[in-house]
Structures are given as C-alpha cells and as structure tokens.
C-alpha cells in the first residue's frame, strides 16, 4: 500500500540564496528505526522529488537539490511564491514538518559520459544533485548556468564548490546588474550574456564538446530553446534530457493533476527525454490548420510551419 501520510522531518538550516529564494536543509526527526524513505540515501536519486508538508498549508512537490547524506540530511532550494512557501519562509529552524518521497524518475546514470548541464534560474536545483553525483563518479560535467540578474544567481556555495571540480560557465541576462559581489569565482571573472543562448551554447560546444548527453532544467520555454538549439548544433534528440514542473497533490500517480497527455509527470517523469516528451506534447495539442495552404497552381505542398 502507498502512504499519503508524511514522515516527520525537521528544518535544521535555512539561509537566503537569491532573491526570495531559500536554501533549506532537513533531517529526519526520528532515525532510531532507520531512515524514513524520504531521508534515505540508499533510496533517493538525483532528479527525484519529495512532497513537503507544511501542516495547515498543505503539501507540494520540491526537488532534491542535495540528496540525503549519511545522516539523512537533504536540501531543497525553494522560492517564496505561494501560500505554502510563504509559511515555510516564516517557519523557525527546528520546527517539525512532513516529508514523503522519494518520487518520480531521476536522471539516468551518465557515469563515464561527457555531459553538458544547462540550467536557468531555479532550474539549477533539480540538476545540482546530478552535478554532485557526476563529480563523485569522476565524470565531472560541463555546466552552463544562466539567471535573470545577479540576485537570481542561486546556489552560491554549491557553485563555489563546483568551480574547481567542473567546467562552469555562467551568464546573466542583465549584465549591468553585476555588482561584483557575487561570491563565485567565475572563469576569469567573466559572465556571458544570458540572452545570447544560441551563441553561448555554440561556444561551449566548441570548447568542451562533443557531448554524449545534455541535461537541462529551467522555464519550459528555455528548455525548449535549449533542445532546439542543441539539435541544430547536431545533438540527437535522444541525448537531450529535461525535468518538468507540474502541480501535484499526491506524487504517486493518483490525484491526476500533473498530466501531460497519457503520462503523469509524478510517476512517469519528472525527467524526460526530449523526443519522448515531444510525442506527448504533440498528443496534448489538437491540430491547427496548416499555416500555408496547398498551392493548387503547382500541385505541390509548400513547407508547413512547425507548430
């Protein structure tokens, strides 16, 4: 039987890590009978998520930014944006909250592969655990991280840590926002221009490619752009991976909220391969009339705009 009842977890550390973004560390309240699954390092994989309960406010899905360590401690990077997270930001360190998990499919095992990680803003959270895991497997990836502005350069301590362990490219959309206060030692202190995604990816591919796999997370529009640009640069669709966000009430395939066509993101995702997700997205849409009609004078069909 499934359980919809959370295990008690304690908020043990909190610090601000970006504009309205918090870096939260949790640990099991009672580990005398072994770790509950949500805190069990043997059970949690990078890319999976858990349901965080804030009693009185409800339950929502968050990704593991750090999978549980040997003490069952794990981290989530959370934006202060809704009713539940507002309450979380007011919660005192030491408070008891609820956790259920792990849920969903994590990233595939990319050990020994040359991997490019492309993350936008808070999209760094679901790939952070994978970056750590690949570094540990001596398959340190190339990381490209872009944010709107300096204040959205999240996971500053993690990026400081990665600096010496993997190739880290960083970009902000608003270069003027840079005050130099960013704690991260960048590649020669240089930030790329985030708006120039295609140029940046081409440059990274030239310097560090070719890549066996690309994993990306960020706003859906950004992920779509990354996949299309990378395919334009010769990357095959079955080597592109991304992680979806959907509203969820159960996390175990029952409540129906996180549908994409016949899939439920909580159990079939949240990680998807680009070509497989593409099939679902096509099914989600009905059809649109052809952008250009058949040219009857020549009896040839002109190229149809892709939807």
């Amino acid at each position: 039987m499934l359980s919809l009842t959370p295990d008690a977890i304690r908020l043990v550390e909190f610090y601000e890590d970006g504009d309205d973004v918090g870096h939260f560390t949790f640990e099991p309240v009672d580990a005398t009978k072994g770790f509950p699954d949500v805190c069990n390092p043997e059970k949690v994989e990078p890319g999976q998520f858990f349901m965080l309960s804030i009693p009185g406010k409800g339950e929502a899905a968050f990704t593991y930014t750090h999978t549980p360590d040997e003490n069952g401690r794990f981290v989530a990077l959370i934006r202060n944006i809704g009713c539940l997270t507002r309450q979380l930001f007011k919660t005192e360190v030491g408070s008891i909250l609820g956790g259920r998990g792990p849920m969903g499919k994590g990233w595939p095992d990319f050990k020994g592969q040359n991997v490019l990680v492309v993350a936008g803003g808070l999209g760094l959270a679901p790939v952070a655990a994978e970056i750590y895991s690949l570094i540990e497997k001596e398959s340190a990836p190339t990381v490209y991280f872009a944010a709107r502005n300096e204040s959205m350069l999240v996971l500053r301590n993690e990026r400081d840590d990665w600096m010496d362990k993997c190739d880290l490219y960083q970009a902000v959309d608003d270069l003027d926002s840079l005050t130099g206060k960013s704690t991260v030692k960048t590649n020669g202190g240089q930030f790329m221009h985030g708006r120039k995604l295609a140029d940046n990816l081409a440059q990274i591919l030239e310097e560090k490619g070719p890549f066996d796999h690309v994993i990306t997370c960020g706003p859906e529009g950004m992920m779509e752009a990354v996949c299309k640009i990378m395919m334009g640069l010769g990357q095959s669709a079955d080597s592109l991976w991304l992680s979806l966000e959907r509203r969820m009430h159960c996390g175990v395939g029952l409540c129906g909220h996180c549908y994409v066509a016949e899939d439920l993101v909580c159990v079939d995702g949240p990680t998807y391969r680009w070509d497989q997700l593409g099939e679902l997205v096509v099914k989600e849409k009905a059809i649109k009339p052809p952008a250009e009609t058949v040219d009857m004078t020549t009896h040839t069909r002109r190229t149809r705009q892709s939807a």
Partner: protein, 341 residues
C-alpha cells in the same frame, strides 16, 4: 461457476441484510435515484429500471475524507472503518467503472479499506437506458462475471410477467454469501438464454455512429484547437461531469485546522475542467485555456493512449454527463459536435 435459481430478488436481498449493510438504488422524494440502505425485513420491491444519478464510486473513493492528522509532532494515517457491505443491483457500466477504479486505487489504503469489505451484486440490463451506450464501449449491457461477486439475470419471460432469476456465483466471496440460502441449482441451458437476452438487449440501443466517429476523430487529432475553444464556451466549469462520471478519480487536498492545534488533511474530488487544476504557485498554468481543458477531459475518456495504460476506454457509456451538463456538452452532444467539427 455455480448458478442457482431464485424466485424473487427481494429474497436474496433480505438474506444478505443478515450479515451486511445492504445498499440498493432507491428513489428520493424528487424521484432521483441514489444508493440507500435497505433494512432486514424491508419488503420494498426491487426496481430494476431505477438508476442512481450518482455512480457508486463515492462509496469507495469518498467525495471528501480525512487522510491523516498532525498533532504537532507526528503525522498519523486516519484509515476509514468499513463494516461488511453489499451493493445490490449494480449495472454493468458501474461495475466496469469499479473494476477500473479497483486498479487505479489498488495501492490506495483508503479506497481499499472500503472496497475489501464490499460485495458487488451485478444485474444484467435487458434494454438500453436513456443516454446509455455501454454496448459501444464494451461495458455492458450484461455484466462481465469477472468483475462482480454475484450476477443476477432474469429468466425468460413475457413482458412485465412475473419471472424468476438466475444467480451466478462469480467469485468465492459471492458463493460464500449465498451459502445456506438453499437455492436450487439452475438447469443447464441458462447460458444460452442469457446470451440470447444479451443480444436482444444490444438490439435496443440507438445508433452510435457519432460515438464511434468521435472516438476516431479524437484519436486522429482531427479536431482543430479552435473547435475545442468553441465547445468550451459552453463549459461553465461546474465539474458536474467529473463528479457524476464513474471513472473520474482526480482529487485535491487541503489542510483543515481542528481543535487543540491538530491539523487534518482532507482529500476532495477535483475536476480537470477547473481553471486552477494545473495552475502552479508561480502562476504558470499549462491548461489555462478552456478549450485545452475540455479537450483534456474527452481525450482522457477516449484516447487510445490512455486506454493502452488503463486496459480500456475511460468511458463506460453510462451517459450521466449528458444528463447533468448544463452547457449541453455531455458525451452525446460533444461527440455530435466533434463528428461535425
């Protein structure tokens, strides 16, 4: 499979009340059918044609229930307690939906706590009901003996004449429930009569070309987005279709404060036709357009992709959505529109 002869259904019903709470379709003051308790000794005749407006899904997947409580330190599961109960007189459509829900909620402790103490008594329909098209979606009119504990089917008779019933023991639990009732075994040949009755019943259904066409057009993605937007003008997001639908199983959760700081988490039926169904805290909403939501509902009912996972179409042809939709986009209306879109 053991089959017995039974003179009156009320006799079997009354027998079952000895050890169980028995629910059967009953009409309220307004004439609407619902599932009501029948007491031991109750002599109200069983009305075969009475169909409850609500499907029986709420008896297992509660419309609103508490799933756990938090006392400040611990989270405790709050499982429902279910005394042995019998649903007496389930039609093939509702039984098909229960079989689907049994699988969907197979690991759900709340559903299973109620379901495992329930005996399902199916009844074969003898003719099409208003709005029903179970025969078109492989869900009736006769009960599949794999999905009930007992099935009752009328013996051949002239219209409105008194007639007996055959009782088919479809499961060991069903067999056990009638042990001691002292029924006579059925004469051989009952199966042929039942089969003939099914073919007679199937012949009473009106034409279903719009349903078959609609299913094909949905799966061929042959209905333009603009058409779905147009149909959606008639959807007022009342969620009536989802509440009435015997296979709809979506739910939302909410936390309710109780006395002394205790927090109860409830789950309540939800509907994909609600604008906020997929809305995230950030405001992002993958199903913001009404047309997308109406498409979603019917895609989920009739998609081959969903059927491949669920083992069958999610629609069982009961026609309740047609009866309840105030916007006139229940299943028959929408399939007619799709066929002409």
């Amino acid at each position: 499979m053991y089959v017995y002869e039974l003179e009156r259904l009320e006799h079997l019903r009354n027998w079952l009340t000895l050890k169980n709470e028995v629910l059967r379709p009953i009409a309220d003051e307004s004439g609407n059918g619902h599932w009501g308790v029948v007491k031991h000794g109750d002599v109200v005749p069983f009305d075969m044609d009475l169909r409850p407006d609500m499907s029986p899904k709420g008896l297992f997947f509660a419309e609103r229930e508490t799933v756990m409580k938090f006392d400040g330190t611990l989270f405790r599961e709050t499982l429902p307690e279910q005394k042995p109960q019998v649903l007496f007189g389930l039609k093939a459509c509702d039984l098909t939906a229960i079989a689907y829900q049994d699988n969907h909620f197979k690991d759900d402790p709340y559903y299973q706590a109620r379901r495992k103490n329930t005996l399902l008594i199916g009844i074969d329909c003898q003719e099409a009901c208003e709005n029903g098209f179970c025969a078109s979606v492989d869900a009736g009119p006769h009960v599949d003996t794999d999905i009930a504990d007992l099935v009752v089917t009328p013996m051949p008779h002239m219209a409105d004449d008194e007639h007996g019933w055959w009782v088919i023991c479809a499961s060991p639990e069903g067999q056990a429930a009638i042990a001691g009732l002292g029924l006579a075994p059925a004469d051989p040949g009952w199966e042929n009569w039942r089969d003939m009755a099914r073919r007679h019943a199937e012949a009473t259904f009106p034409k279903d070309t719009h349903i078959i066409n609609g299913i094909q057009r949905i799966n061929g993605r042959a209905v333009p987005d603009e058409a779905w937007e147009r149909f959606a003008h008639q959807c007022i997001s009342c969620s009536g279709c989802s509440m009435m639908c015997p296979t709809c199983s979506c739910y939302a959760t909410r936390d309710v404060p109780e006395a002394e700081g205790v927090i109860a988490r409830e789950r309540i039926w939800d509907s994909c036709l609600m604008v906020g169904f997929q809305k995230e805290a950030s405001g992002a909403n993958p199903a913001a357009e009404a047309g997308k939501r109406v498409y979603r509902y019917w895609y989920h009912k009739f998609s081959d992709d969903v059927a491949a996972r669920a083992g069958r179409y999610m629609c069982v042809g009961c026609g309740r959505c047609e009866a309840t939709c105030p916007g006139m986009i229940g299943v028959h209306s929408i399939m007619e529109k799709i066929a002409n879109a």
